[in-house]
Amino acid sequence: MIFLTGCWNLEEIENRSFVLGVGFDLTPEGQVQCTVQLPRPQALNFARGQSPVAPQEQFSSITATGATPWDALAQINKITSRHLYLGHLQVIVVGEEMARQGINPVIDGLQRYAVINRRAAVVLARNARQIMEAPVRGELTPAMYFQTFFSSKPTPESTENVPIWRVRHDLLMPAHAAHIPRVTLADGQFRLEGFGLIANGRLSGDLPGAQARGLALARGQVRDGSFALKTGDRSVTVRVQKVGRRLTGTWWDGGEAHIRLSLDVHGQIEENDQLGLAIPPDLYTRFEAKLANQVKEEAMNAIAVAQKSGADVFNFGEYMRIADPYDWNPDSWAEKFRTADIQVSVRARIDRTGMFE
């Protein structure tokens, strides 16, 4: 019987082309330009004892254009000798222009088939093709950088891993808002910092660099943030390792949403500018107050940016729904969020001082 049947789905692994990274850009003509990063199989053959290859030889990248993301991928399939395989997709880079037009086709198209990796990281870049073609060192292929980055350390303060399944989940929620980490290429290295805010499937807001930390704070997700505090002539650096977020009040008042957010910050002293001097208790309190202020400022700033772009990436919509489930209207939340009255109160504690007093 084996000879009569065709084993239709059996495809030898060497006949598959593992797509490790895919990037989508929008061309000036409005077409979708897709760039895929494929590992070079010869570079993967560690067992035969070959010497490690240079980064630019570890992978190859191919670009093609199509009317939609999936169409562009199909065009690439016409170029590659092997069948494109998306089961181990590591990263999806979305170009800014493409994101402004709408990321829904990308998010939808790249999850319809069960094979495609739902845990691929989605990142935003100015130019996706540049990211896909950059010969960045340090990993098997540059596309692996992203998964390793997110899985090997505690969440860095100004970026977050957002797998594609989570983006879809967020976009399907009433707020239709998601946040995507930004990646830039600087000095031949990737730099993951900042967020792009997506509202209604379109890129509508930006939290670059340092401001991005505010987003993480407001979401209660900072695990490892450094704050430099200065008061009078003393300065310390405090590392914040835990931020507890609670919504102490959510209510509707005549169609306007009111949200009260409380953040509980715990930090420890990382650096003391004066070696010999210990920190007296009243100075402690002043530093804590400074910390609280700084956290509040950053969080409020991030919330303001989000409100301006109408992207509720803090899940406030859900809390408002729970506050009054009977009168909840999901379609109006995007607008209501822009004008919501949101206030943040922060309590900061510096718990530990490390090995020194």
């Binding site: 084993c7 059996l10 060497e14 993967l44 067992a47 181990h88 098997l140």
Partner: protein
């Protein structure tokens, strides 16, 4: 019972007879001639014997005269001990002859204390005579008597107990059974000197008249089980029984199933343990391997060594065996299913590594599996057939050199080599060798649906195998006990080995008549 079920043949034909006619030798086989009469004349009897046996060189004749009457001793050289004949028969008879010059001796005069022999019996007919002669007895004939006496004077060459070749242990008895049934029975009796240890003797095979003993503990084993076993043995009709497997295949419940429903062992302590649990043991002459029945699937993962190694290690070893069993027949198929159909399940780095190693390999994964596996099997067969001194070299050459060379030549990938070798080695980690051989075939069977339908085919194949296992019975005991049907008390000796002080009850699986293992010392009655 399904496709592999077996109907009991001729099970009822002996029901009217008294159960288990006892006998020490040569009875109730299907080959007895009815109503044979020995002649009164010695010459006629000797002639009959000569005609029947065709005067071979090995049959020897010694004439003697006892108180005026002619007598003859017939024996087979090489099987009977000449010294014993001289000491136990010739000498006492000549002494008797001297003191009873005028007596007219009769055969029944001598067994009662005259002959120094420990064991004598009457020979019914010529085929009985053959049985006795070729088991080392000497035949004593007297002129004027139409009876023949057989005196046990055996002295044939036999092997003394050696350490077991299969399933050896570090701690525990190093005696394994030999080809001589009587010696084996003796070893078992020494281990379990209980007066309620019963044996039922049968002679099976029209030509070989092989002695088969059904051994059991009378107050522990299920009497219905014993009856059933004896009936099945009685129903065997064949020319020769050369090994216990010949018996096994004729009486087992599922002859077409790859899974064995009887456990074979050459260890005396395994036999003793089986008897104490209420199982029945079949011992076949000329075979060191005894058969233990009924058995469950999990019995094949138990080793006698488990009970003499520390508890935690024994439990760990059991789990190793289960995992090895599973790996041995599923690993190649799982590899094909994952690599060929669903590489998304494999971790990315491993998938890329496999991708790398498979560059330049000309064959598809399935062929690779088959090539390597068959090569492994060929090597295995070759090392088994080789004389011991050469076998080692073949093993090294084949295994290491060929294996490395075939990878470096780029015919197979080294990942596949690992998979196949691991699977091969794992197949022997399951406790029983026969079981391991039986399941080797499963590897290829599972490969077929996997190649056709990937993971779905793999699961369907496993499901079918599991269903098959669930349909098996071993002499009325469900094969998958104590897991299904669930027997709470027996679980503790299946997946774990609990300390001896907790094993107070016999396994319910074998329906013993007496559930409690005797804890206190019995009064000897």
């Amino acid at each position: 019972m399904g496709l592999f079920g077996r109907r009991r043949k001729a099970a009822n034909k002996d029901k009217e007879e008294a159960p288990f006619p006892s006998g020490s030798s040569g009875q109730s086989g299907p080959s007895g001639q009815q109503g044979y009469q020995w002649h009164k004349s010695l010459q006629d009897n000797l002639q009959a014997i000569q005609d029947a046996f065709g005067s071979p060189e090995t049959i020897k004749l010694q004439h003697l005269e006892v108180s005026g009457r002619d007598a003859a001793v017939v024996f087979a050289s090489g099987l009977a001990d000449l010294e014993k004949i001289a000491v136990e028969i010739m000498q006492p008879l000549s002494t008797w002859s001297r003191t009873h010059r005028e007596a007219r001796p009769e055969l029944h005069d001598w067994p009662q204390g005259v002959l120094a022999a420990a064991q004598t019996s009457t020979v019914r007919d010529l085929s009985d005579a053959a049985l006795e002669l070729f088991n080392g007895s000497a035949l004593l004939l007297l002129d004027g008597e139409d009876r023949v006496l057989a005196v046990a004077v055996d002295g044939y060459a036999k092997r003394s107990p050696e350490p077991p070749r299969v399933d050896p242990v570090i701690r525990g008895a190093q005696e394994s059974m030999t080809e001589t049934l009587l010696d084996n029975l003796a070893m078992v009796r020494r281990t379990v000197p209980d007066r309620r240890l019963r044996t039922i003797t049968r002679r099976v095979g029209t030509r070989t008249r092989t002695r088969v003993e059904v051994v059991y503990l009378q107050d522990v084993a299920d009497p219905d089980l014993v009856t059933e076993v004896v009936h099945r043995i009685d129903a065997i009709e064949c020319g020769g029984i050369l090994e216990s497997r010949y018996v096994e295949e004729r009486i087992q419940d599922h002859p077409w199933s790859p899974f064995p429903t009887m456990l074979d062992t050459e260890r005396v302590d395994a036999v003793a343990q089986a008897l104490l649990q209420g199982q029945v043991v079949i011992m076949v002459d000329r075979t060191p391997q005894a058969l233990i029945l009924p058995v469950t699937f999990f019995e094949f993962f138990r080793s006698v060594s488990d009970y003499s190694t520390p508890v935690y290690f024994a439990t760990f070893a059991r789990w190793l065996r289960f995992i090895s069993f599973f790996l041995s027949f599923t690993l190649p198929s799982l590899y094909v299913a994952l690599v060929g159909y669903h590489p998304e399940v494999i971790p990315t780095k491993l998938a890329l590594s496999i991708l790398g190693t498979r560059q330049g390999i000309p064959f598809p994964a399935v062929f690779e599996v088959l090539i390597l596996d068959l090569m492994m099997e060929v090597l295995r067969e070759a090392t088994v057939r080789m004389p011991r001194n050469v076998g080692q070299t073949i093993g090294v050459v084949g295994g290491i050199v060929l294996g490395t060379a075939v990878v470096q030549a780029g015919i197979v990938s080294n990942t596949m080599l690992i998979i196949v070798s691991l699977s091969a080695v794992a197949s022997f980690a399951a406790a029983n060798f026969t079981f391991a051989q039986a399941i080797r075939i499963l590897k290829y069977v599972l490969l077929v649906p996997t190649v056709m339908l990937g993971l779905v085919g793999y699961v369907l194949g496993l499901t079918v195998i599991l269903l098959h296992l669930c349909s098996l019975d071993s002499f009325g005991v469900p094969y998958m006990s104590p897991l299904a049907p669930y027997r709470a008390g027996d679980i503790k000796d299946t997946f774990t080995r609990v300390p001896h002080f907790l094993m107070t009850r016999r396994p319910q699986t074998y329906h013993p008549s007496d559930m409690k293992r005797s804890a206190k010392r019995q009064k000897q009655t």
